[in-house]
Symmetry: C2
Subunit: 424 residues, 2 copies
Amino acid sequence: MKPYAQLSPEERRGEYARLRTEFDALKARGLSLNMARGKPSKVQVDLINDMFQLMQDPQDYISDGIDVRNYGELAGLPAAKALFADILGCRPEQVFVGGNSSLQLMYDTVSKGYTHGLAHSPRPWCREETVRWLCPSPGYDRHFRITESFGFELITIPMTEDGPDMDAVEEAVKDPAVKGIWCVPKYSNPDGVIYSDETIRRFANLKPAAPDFTIMWDNAYCIHEFEGDYVEFPDILSLCEAAGNPDMVFEFASTSKVTLPGSGVACFACSKTNMEHMEKQLTVQVISFDKVNQQRHVLYLRDKAHSLEIMKRHASVMGPKFRCVADALDREIAPLDIASWKRPRGGYFVSVNAMAGTAKRTLALCREAGVTMTDAGATFPYGKDPRDSNIRVAPSLPPVEELEQAMEIFCVCLRMAALEQLGL
Amino acid sequence: MKPYAQLSPEERRGEYARLRTEFDALKARGLSLNMARGKPSKVQVDLINDMFQLMQDPQDYISDGIDVRNYGELAGLPAAKALFADILGCRPEQVFVGGNSSLQLMYDTVSKGYTHGLAHSPRPWCREETVRWLCPSPGYDRHFRITESFGFELITIPMTEDGPDMDAVEEAVKDPAVKGIWCVPKYSNPDGVIYSDETIRRFANLKPAAPDFTIMWDNAYCIHEFEGDYVEFPDILSLCEAAGNPDMVFEFASTSKVTLPGSGVACFACSKTNMEHMEKQLTVQVISFDKVNQQRHVLYLRDKAHSLEIMKRHASVMGPKFRCVADALDREIAPLDIASWKRPRGGYFVSVNAMAGTAKRTLALCREAGVTMTDAGATFPYGKDPRDSNIRVAPSLPPVEELEQAMEIFCVCLRMAALEQLGL
């Protein structure tokens, strides 16, 4: 097979006619396959069912002398703080352990900035003329949607192989209206990029004009390798501290993809000043989070080493799925030179950059043939990909057999859209 | 014993000297007793430990075909909605089942009004010059603190034996800056009052000037009788609907004092319009709440009838404590005519109205003798009781033996403070 750009118009028409027949046959199967969200599969949630055999013994309800069943401990069980500190590489007192959703903790942090201000805010953000927010893209649509919902102006920062384009970030933070940035520093959503040491160093050393500029460091995939060994990752809190910016970062994590999506435990980690500020705010809003579930996780996950063992169970399910996706792309698409992608080693996504102007059309064709993917554009602010190119593939939910079929359809659609774009 | 007001100055001095000796002896015991918060006792949380033997069977993880362990169902499991609808007397589709804390759902509702506006808000409340909020008092300090934290102007509405003074409420809502009211309609915190049918009817028929005026109907003690039979209570949602005000009320409830404080399940109930509005907001903030815990509660509580059975277990622990408090007051204080209180049949508090000007002094004496109570004034907006009279007694946490001692101290302190106030 030749690169599509080298095909003559006649060859393109022939190829397209052949693909159309193939597409119609695939469509006739009447499939309904979903690769839209980073949702774990039933096999994965079955893997950790032994968690619910815990919490049977009366002594399981006492943690460091605290009855986990009653009110109290706003910032979470000390043992749960220690667990997350071990996983994230920070100090236990820097950790606030909350409910089941890190997204909610992130929303709440932004919301607190808006309603009451963060620790160094001259005023609540709702009293600012304009608030701008940096969105490394492609990125996570739910992040962008939070800041969009508060009426902030979203600014696209290009992603590179080493993380966000730091020249662009350093330039953007000179604007005092820029109040923060979204980051998924390890296995970034969707590119699967691990921020380089240099990128992280530059983040920690930012000198933003806004005194309350906040790095939202969503370490969602901190221990989520599905290929190869665990990759060590620096602690952003100590790096910011060392750079004289201790209060510039909030880190987030959860066990949604370690234990159970929706019934895990989430946390944030931050400096002492930020913790005091947040606790003062949070005590108005909640008495305490679900400490029984925190304790269940402490008993189940134990520490970072044992959590990594459990992640190997997930890897055994996730690895083959990601290989299926990347192999299909390598086989069907690589020779045609109509798209690019990377083979991630962790996280939940494969990011495909289709030929400019073909992402929407590709996904419309997919939908027609029964394959649902994340909407084209979703990985950019306001859901608008200026190049109409990026497609997020989320292979975790379907079993491999279904994934094979979905990828067959996806590759045909990618090719058809590319040929249409090249002209028929 | 004669009413204190009838004592001669000399008699008062004699009585005070006698009490002082008693106080010193009590203080010398070096006790540390806590009646500050409505926190269930260890005996109560032990009562429902069988809950954690559930969720062992694979079939327990499927509810109406939904795998409760995975993402999804933002508004909660249908079975959990049905459970709360049964308890509250509303329709399942009116119920949003959330996380562990109804306080957090209330905070979030107010916060959404502030940041984005409620369904009928002309603009978000942060864009209003002034927002005023009605606070029936004595009331719940955590309610008042939420609206205070957003900078709203808190307006005290007197409580009567039938609930909030509805003449005052009807007058106050003529002000378009008045955006809402806090209510604990059954076993009000702290008075233990059940709003009368007439009060509830007048609430449902309010004609507020603000189109987004919201009744925050915190039905925290909806099935929380500790004395006598369950008291039927009208459904505020259908009453508001019938009165042409379907969107004027959000009802809240939780199982914090049915199953476990901090590890229960909370919900709100509201009209279709409000539900659509809130879901649109909430989907930005969270993917779904902890459905494993929701399912655990569905299996454990089953329905209203069985929940009422479980509440009888709590009543067997709570009843004696409340009798201890009321008996001590009847015995030690009633003849002196220096305070008034009621004998509630449900809820978590006894509200004592001490002689005006003596609440703070009484509690300072209590603290000196090792008894911690809710701060004087806490039951009023801004923590300021204009008469310095109301004291909230929370007898749930200590065992009866300790409660007996705490009440002995409390009664001595009430008497000393009254005598000081009358003049020595």
